[in-house]
């Protein structure tokens, strides 16, 4: 098992390097001036050159990348051009907020997805299956930013039950797990949970439906095993694939949703990316993308390890 984990960790390095290089090149190839946040278009050519030099944008791209990568290795992601604040500080605060949102959304989405998936599979082709399948398809098809707006209109504007935007009465830095703060989390978390709920429902329905038709389930039932024991066998067999799907979904959620976080002004990585993109804040953009990519890679590793723990065949292969 240890060798397996070490192998996967070694394989991570080129992936991370490639991600860093691609995101560096992408943000530099994109049209627009990286100094637009601090240099109005009416600035003189002399001033523009002076600022390019101060920020190091007059250096060759390989030198810029080398310096950035070297500093990143030491945990220094640079300074945001627009705000002057350290990128690492900006990203870590946003990541904390996104993780909190993603964790709640994932809990809702996965719990409902598993429940609906098993229900639909056990009651296949019944009205329960049809209702669940309809909900699942609606979940994966509905644009979540649109759903967010609808939820805001209903629960904030019309009913006045929940706040429309923000991350707590005093901002996210004074977050507490009480109702005064958690009510800010309800609408964005529900909005974000809909897609993973739909995907997990459909996956589990297909998996469990297939497992229930297999001979070992027939044998278990023929042995006279109680249905709860049969369920445990089915669940264990469905777990590796369902875990992989949930891991991927969790990865997407942890990546932050630009649209949902913007609709709810939730100060996570999505909103941070939105701001960095529109301000052409290259250090912030590069730093955020790198951290998110690392998240995804680490999460994939964690899922792979978990699958290997659950299913020895994966370890052996």
């Amino acid at each position: 098992m240890l060798i397996y984990v070490v192998k996967r960790l070694v394989l991570m390095l080129p992936v991370v390097l490639c991600v860093a290089l691609v995101c560096f090149l992408l943000v530099h190839i994109a049209p627009g001036d990286p100094l637009i946040a601090v240099l109005p278009p009416d600035a003189s050519a002399e001033l523009a050159e002076q600022m390019k030099h101060v920020y190091g944008f007059d250096r060759p791209l390989p030198v810029q990348f080398g310096l950035w990568a070297w500093h990143a290795l030491q945990g220094n992601l640079g300074t945001s051009i627009a705000t002057g604040r350290p990128v690492a500080e900006e990203v870590s605060r946003a990541v904390g907020n996104t993780v909190m949102l993603a964790a709640v959304a994932a809990t809702i989405g996965f719990a409902l997805g598993l429940l609906f998936g098993f229900l639909a599979a056990y009651f296949r082709d019944s009205w329960i299956d049809r209702v669940v399948t309809t909900v699942a398809i609606a979940g994966v098809s509905m644009p979540h930013y649109w759903l967010g707006m609808v939820l805001v209109i209903i629960f904030s504007v019309v009913l006045g039950w929940l706040p429309a935007v923000g991350a707590g009465p005093g901002g996210s830095t004074s977050w507490a797990w009480d109702w005064a703060h958690m009510r800010f989390l309800v609408l964005p978390a529900v909005t974000l949970s809909v897609i993973p709920m739909g995907i997990v429902t459909r996956t589990v329905r297909a998996l469990v439906g297939d497992l229930l038709t297999q001979e070992f389930v027939l044998a278990l039932r023929a042995k006279g095993l109680a249905e709860t024991r049969v369920f445990r066998h089915v669940a264990k067999n469905a777990a590796p694939t369902a875990t992989a799907v949930m891991g991927l979904q969790l990865g997407y959620l942890l990546g932050g949703s630009i649209l949902v976080e913007t609709v709810f002004s939730w100060p996570g990585t999505g909103l941070l990316l939105n701001s960095a993109i529109f301000q052409r804040d290259l250090p912030l953009l590069q730093g955020t993308i790198l951290v998110l990519a690392l998240f995804f890679v680490v999460l994939n590793l964690a899922v792979d390890v978990l699958q290997a723990v659950i299913d020895p065949r994966i370890r052996r292969s």
């Binding site: 049209p31 627009g32 001036d33 100094l35 637009i36 946040a37 601090v38 240099l39 109005p40 278009p41 009416d42 600035a43 003189s44 050519a45 001033l47 523009a48 002076q50 600022m51 101060v54 920020y55 300074t79 051009i81 627009a82 705000t83 002057g84 604040r85 350290p86 900006e90 605060r93 946003a94 707006m149 805001v152 209109i153 904030s156 504007v157 006045g160 706040p163 429309a164 935007v165 923000g166 991350a167 005093g170 901002g171 996210s172 830095t173 004074s174 913007t262 609709v263 709810f264 002004s265 100060p267 909103l271 941070l272 939105n274 701001s275 529109f278 301000q279 052409r280």
Partner: protein, 549 residues
Amino acid sequence: MTSLHLIRIALAAAISACALPAVAETVVRIGMTAADIPRTLGQPDQGFEGNRFTGNTMYEGLTVWDLSAADKPSEIIPGLATGWAVDAADKTRWTFRLRPGVTFHDGSDFDADAVVWNVEKVLKQDAPQFDASQVGVTASRMPTLRAARAIDNMTVELTTSEPDSFLPINLMNLYMASPAHWRKLYDGVAASVADPKERSKRAWDAFARAASGTGPWKMAGFVPRERLELVRNDAYWDPARRPKVDRLVLLPMPEASARTAALLSGQVDWIEAPAPDSISQIKQRGFVIYANEQPHVWPWQFSRIEGSPWNDLKVRKAANLCVDRDAMRDGLLGGLMVATTATFEKGHPWHGHPTFEIRYDPDSARALMTQAGYSKTRRLKVKVQTSASGSGQMLPVPMNEFVQQSLAECFFDVELDVIEWNTLFTNWRKGAKDDAARGATAINVTYSSMDPFFAMVRFLDSRMAPPVSNNWGFINDPEFDKRVAAARHAFDPAERDRALAALHERSVDEAAFLWIAHDVGPRALSPKIRNFVQPKSWFVDFSTMTIAN
């Protein structure tokens, strides 16, 4: 007075105090359009919204805008300077007399050394407080300022690179931050940080989190990207402008529907730029919409390079006569625009008396196009570069499509080249000759017209052609250059206004732009907010408003 009498008075006061209800803190919560809190260290980013919320609230310049009236254009008035004069013999030297008795929020005194320190924070690269991140938004707005020198404690001399009568107007962009507070933060940086530049950077970062200016509002709380809380500065030097509300809470809300929902659900009391299609709902719920003509122009800027069809004055005039701006205002914009007749409208001191009247007259437009050699069968193809969104662009694509349809009636075939906002902004600087223009003969970038340089000089002066500044179309008209120079060298305010009016007249008579709209800066306020004045400016004064019980 006997001691018994004193005890009676004290008892009476104590009983009265107990009998009075506790006075609740008055708070106004504002949803801004910005995606982040504009920088708080003295020179805000994010354009004039930044100046509005974190510049003019916590800081001031030597000059400030008069924002007290809604019915006349805002003017520059004394701020931290009480008066100024240019040297009669050397017009590059100015003397500013400073306002006595002003203190920064940290309690330190405002004086001539503070002015010199603030000039050097953006102009003197070897000064400890020099901060490159503040240079761009400052130096470009006062391009001729070169140096500052303290003459005595309350007098400072400023030097410009050339005679420039616009200096007092431009100086409202240089906000005064507290040198003493910055020094304290600089000294507080860990001793392990030895590099002076790194220490300076950290001191500015700390300053942004605990700002100190001289303005009517003081920083009370700051959560980056989420909220900024300002409280009333009771020691503000102008009693008339001491805020009547205790606290302002500024919240970034870049999404228009989110701002509207926050207002309608009672989460905020004020939103900037409500979505036009939500105005009627906002009004129905009892909120008040404020709007006023802003010094903002939504134009097409013409290419005047060789081969451009806009080199023909008849074509430029025809385009200006062919757009029904009133229909655009009443239909597309729901009333939230002013149909332009020029950069400065009638009544403005810089309007002058142009002979060409910009109005909707398609017959005259077609006649001009016929004279220029175009007809129903021989149509003029033009291409305009615009953006899908962007600060101040209003509704760029629908508005350009409206213009496209209007001009089609006057033998124009308009092709729209819609690109991303920041890319368009960058292209604006590169000019019509650059490949980035992709063959466009016009560009649609909105601009502020608060001061002469931004409103006219950078577009009309041939020396401002790319890469120097924003004369995108390479206008090269000696008469414009002559009038620009005359305005820059007119140091008497009345004479300067006349010179600027002459420059503006010429720009209208030459149809230098296709003028379409002025924005009206709409905002929606809770009905409990009273005594708010929306001036003809990008800025507002938050000090005057009160909260009704």
